[in-house]
Symmetry: C2
């Protein structure tokens, strides 16, 4: 069994990462699996430990960081989220290509720990288009939209840190291009 | 018969356009055809009019420009080269996707006349890699290599004028990505 790839996918909020990933997941040849994150957040109704998340308390989370058990981690609104190395490695050893949809900061942590990770950054066709997608998606106040755009602009500056940059002008084409990238790396790895 | 696409491919000298195109040409599904250029240059031994080039005198060439019969044109070392609209249209009307490998200036002329042209710019993984490719290809004096690199840097600034930017780190992957772009546009056109 060939070890699977580790694929890091980032891109500004509103760029359409979710739709692209949904399209990629339809293609079984890509052997994609999601990783399961570890979090200190309390389970919501119906969420199952080991399925939606690995639910842990803060001490366990901090110990996991200290012990180098997390590929990356970040804090959002008081809760910690991270990617356990062991689960990612388990999937990769089963031949699955593990897809991490993470923010730029997390991606940089992964890059340090796994230099062979395949990093892909999705960009919008233009900032105007990104703005209109963000406006179209929710009916958020203009102030929030501007905050998202400012954040997006900062994230876009990190684009050079990624191995591949794919423009999401057309979801099918963006996922076709990412498929080509993944397939080529599966091929290189198996040679 | 669906009208074929017009595909403009540019990229700095040394980036590997030729190798990528050779790879693309292997794939019959892409229905790629080269255009034949018009030139004032004298035929070399074995070159056939209407096969290698449309050979014309300078007056005929200048008249073709005036009459709007050229999609783009440029002068190199005293000879004029251009792309005849009529031949490109003939191929496209036969359902062929016409590939123009032209310099940035020519590509901008095509863009003006054919806003539906699919423009693709091939970039090197880095300027260091481009330099080493240029150095590896010929044993040119360092001065010439530097001139090529300076020209490449200027050309790279035009990258935003192109619809797609593809990095040629790996020839197979670069041509796979360009194939995906062409196929997707064939699909969109036929919908």
């Amino acid at each position: 069994m060939k070890k699977g790839l580790l694929i890091v996918l980032s891109g500004p909020s509103g760029v359409g990462k979710g739709t692209v990933i949904k399209e990629l997941m339809k293609n079984d040849d890509l052997k994609l699996s999601y990783s399961i994150s570890m979090t200190t957040r309390k389970p919501r109704n119906g969420e199952v430990d080991g399925v939606n998340y690995f639910f842990v308390d803060r001490d366990t989370f901090l110990k996991a960081i200290d012990d180098g058990e997390l590929l990356e981690h970040a804090e959002f609104v008081g809760n910690m989220y991270g990617t356990p190395v062991s689960y990612v490695e388990k999937l990769r050893n089963e031949g699955r290509n593990v897809l991490l949809e993470i923010e730029v900061q997390g991606a940089m942590q992964v890059k340090k720990k796994c230099p062979d990770a395949l990093s892909i950054f999705i960009i919008p066709p233009s900032m105007e288009e990104l703005a209109s997608r963000i406006r179209g998606r929710n009916s958020e106040p203009e102030e929030i939209v501007q905050q998202r755009l400012d954040k997006a602009k900062k994230e876009m500056e990190m684009v050079t840190q990624y191995k591949y940059v794919v423009c999401n002008d057309d979801v099918i084409l963006a996922s076709d291009i990412i498929s080509a990238i993944i397939k080529r790396h599966m091929q290189i790895k198996s040679n």
